[in-house]
Symmetry: C2
Subunit: 222 residues, 2 copies
Amino acid sequence: MATGRASDRAYETLRREILQWRLAPGTVLGEVEQATRLGISRTPLREALSRLAADGLVETQTGRGLVVAAVSPDAVRGLFELREALETAAAALAAERREPTVFAELAERFDGAADLVEQGDLDAYYALVARFDDAIDASLDNAYLVAALRGVRTHLQRIRRLAYDDPARLVRAASEHRTIAEAIRDGEAELARTATYVHLRASLRHIRSTPHLDAARPKESP
Amino acid sequence: MATGRASDRAYETLRREILQWRLAPGTVLGEVEQATRLGISRTPLREALSRLAADGLVETQTGRGLVVAAVSPDAVRGLFELREALETAAAALAAERREPTVFAELAERFDGAADLVEQGDLDAYYALVARFDDAIDASLDNAYLVAALRGVRTHLQRIRRLAYDDPARLVRAASEHRTIAEAIRDGEAELARTATYVHLRASLRHIRSTPHLDAARPKESP
DNA sequence: CCGGGTTTCATTGTATACATTGAGAGAGTG
DNA sequence: CACTCTCTCAATGTATACAATGAAACCCGG
């Protein structure tokens, strides 16, 4: 343990805690307080906080210093507007790149993913989605777009904790992912774009349909 | 002078110098060297460098520390793929917001912008484009999307120095902007999206048609 | 009881001293 | 002559001490 740079460890720790709702939105992050808690000095902690601010996970609240960013229905709308712009474009570009082998395999995996979900192996399903995202990123060969997608996925992780883990939804999501993967495999850019659009709207509808924990409340660790 | 935080001043100064090609791509930014030059200590300088790295203006080169990010034809492609995704979505969303007054005025201004360019008042034209961008941002009401757009525009400033200030192109660009503003004014989302797509492709074609200063060379300040 | 000014003190911003790392020079050997 | 191992040192990473800022508490006059 305690490997690598202290600022990196602090960044990873705080990031994880924020995404897991261990640090609730609105929590004030005092420098001395957090540095003491993490067992490092203020200098590397400040660097970690800078990076979190660049990610949009913490914000400077007037006077009170840095606080964990809020998660409001309005923020969800904004995030999905950005997500739609980025992911539809990414799917279309990936299809145009014509690298079918990876996406052919992913399409088959998504075909069997409903079984995974129904057997309760949600982690395996999420790992498959992560592989799909990685395949998209690799085929894009575009550092700017990949960086923007990474930022969206970061914030999405936090929102997922409000709504996900509904097997019925995940079975449908797997089917949607399969459609997208097949379109990319076949080089059908417009189909990939539209299928992504359909998937994202279904995802947003599902999130909005669940009882909102609008108030910021910490959540048990899994 | 010397107002505000030292880290802010260092960030603004370095950012400006990078965008103006005063600091050429590939330039190594040693901490002690830059801190001495800017008359501050290493602590606030490091904070400024962190923010520049988050912006993508500087990158960590293995071993040699931080260097000013490269500008390659591949980077231009990547930036325009992201720009297309963001700006077409932004134009469509702005049209859907139905706030015609600002864009009606901007459309009229762009109608007269050809005269500005032909009279050589390029700064007035660029100021008009900046007002247009601000109007889009304001109507979006979406912090995530606006932040992503800001990042794209930052990198675009650096690329513009390779190619722009061609009056013939700017006259056509003004016409394209007018078309977009009118579409937003009239609430025609798909037209706004498509007109933006046309504008960006013309802009990219123009940049690619100019003799490339691929090698990183500093440019005189204006 | 209320408003305004002042003081205090916690918190952030900055400087500097110390620790650590890794790249390059140099010597030694096959 | 090439290769490798070690050594050196300049650079970054970290800790801590000091400065400055601003928010809350408190006092005092009205």
